[in-house]
């Protein structure tokens, strides 16, 4: 865990170096475009987190093993953190470029929707703490919330909006920007792994504590 923390810090510092000293400044947007690297990387990790929450919720409903619920808990929690980062950094980039902090663009709306859904997942989990029936309800709500995840990804392709498409535009991006995006995505993924591991460990300890309380 300590080694992973050290590697993550080094990777994040390297990413910051690449963003500010290696990647060129964008021609029309200028320096504010540098939000892009962490904004997109956080969005990738949001997908990982919510994806893991969905996968382990499905496995929990299927196999009824407590460990899957703990992993789903960690995925939903860390996914919500990265979703919050996306929703806070997006408007800060949008204001100088679009002229407004928020617009009801399909991608923005579906991302806000999944944030609200996973906040309700977190609240439901807190409400039903230690209750096996509650865990089932949380798993079902998580799977229901997952329906929004592909919509976020497809929103820019299905409906016309102002949000740009990142994937598929690699060809138009200079190589330096592309390398920086890849490096930042890797370091933010390391951060995700670190936080996910710690959260899952904590969820397992909380589970043991509840078992001890009951017994």
């Amino acid at each position: 865990m300590k080694k992973l923390l050290l590697i993550t810090i080094l990777a994040l510092l390297t990413s910051l170096y690449l963003i500010f000293f290696y990647a060129p400044e964008e021609a029309t947007q200028g320096i504010v475009q540098k939000i892009f690297y962490f904004h997109v990387s956080s969005a990738f990790c949001m997908y990982f987190g919510f994806g893991l929450a969905g996968l382990f919720s499905f496995l929990y409903l299927w196999k009824k093993k407590e460990i899957y619920d703990c992993y789903a808990h960690a995925g939903a929690s860390v996914g919500l953190l990265f979703c919050t980062m996306v929703l806070m950094s997006g408007p800060l980039w949008a204001k100088p470029i679009w002229g407004t902090y928020w617009t009801w663009d399909p991608r923005l709306t579906t991302t806000l929707l999944i944030w609200l859904l996973f906040v309700s997942v977190a609240l439901l989990r807190r409400f039903y703490e230690g209750d096996p029936k509650g865990k089932k309800a949380v798993a079902i709500l998580t799977l229901f919330s997952m329906a929004d995840l592909p919509l976020i990804f497809l929103a820019v392709k299905l409906w016309r909006g102002v949000h740009p498409t990142v994937l598929g535009e690699k060809e138009s991006m200079p190589q330096e920007m592309h390398i920086t995006l890849m490096a930042t995505s890797l370091s933010v993924t390391l951060l995700f792994i670190l936080l996910y591991t710690a959260r899952a460990k904590l969820a397992l300890l909380e589970e043991k504590l509840i078992d001890r309380r009951i017994s």
């Binding site: 939000i35 980062m85 950094s89 936080l195 710690a198 300890l205 001890r212």
Partner: protein, 44 residues
């Protein structure tokens, strides 16, 4: 606000949120944390 202020604000978000979350996790994972030790049976 000029562009630099938006950039700084966004990076403060990227720095602060995982740090607050991480510190909270470290505190809860600490073996002396009440979050883990609370509810243990009282020894006679």
């Amino acid at each position: 606000m000029n562009h630099l202020n938006y950039l700084i604000s966004a990076y403060v978000v990227f720095l602060a949120l995982p740090m607050i979350y991480g510190i909270r996790l470290i505190c809860l994972l600490n073996k002396n944390s009440p979050a883990i030790n609370v509810g243990q049976a009282k020894k006679p």
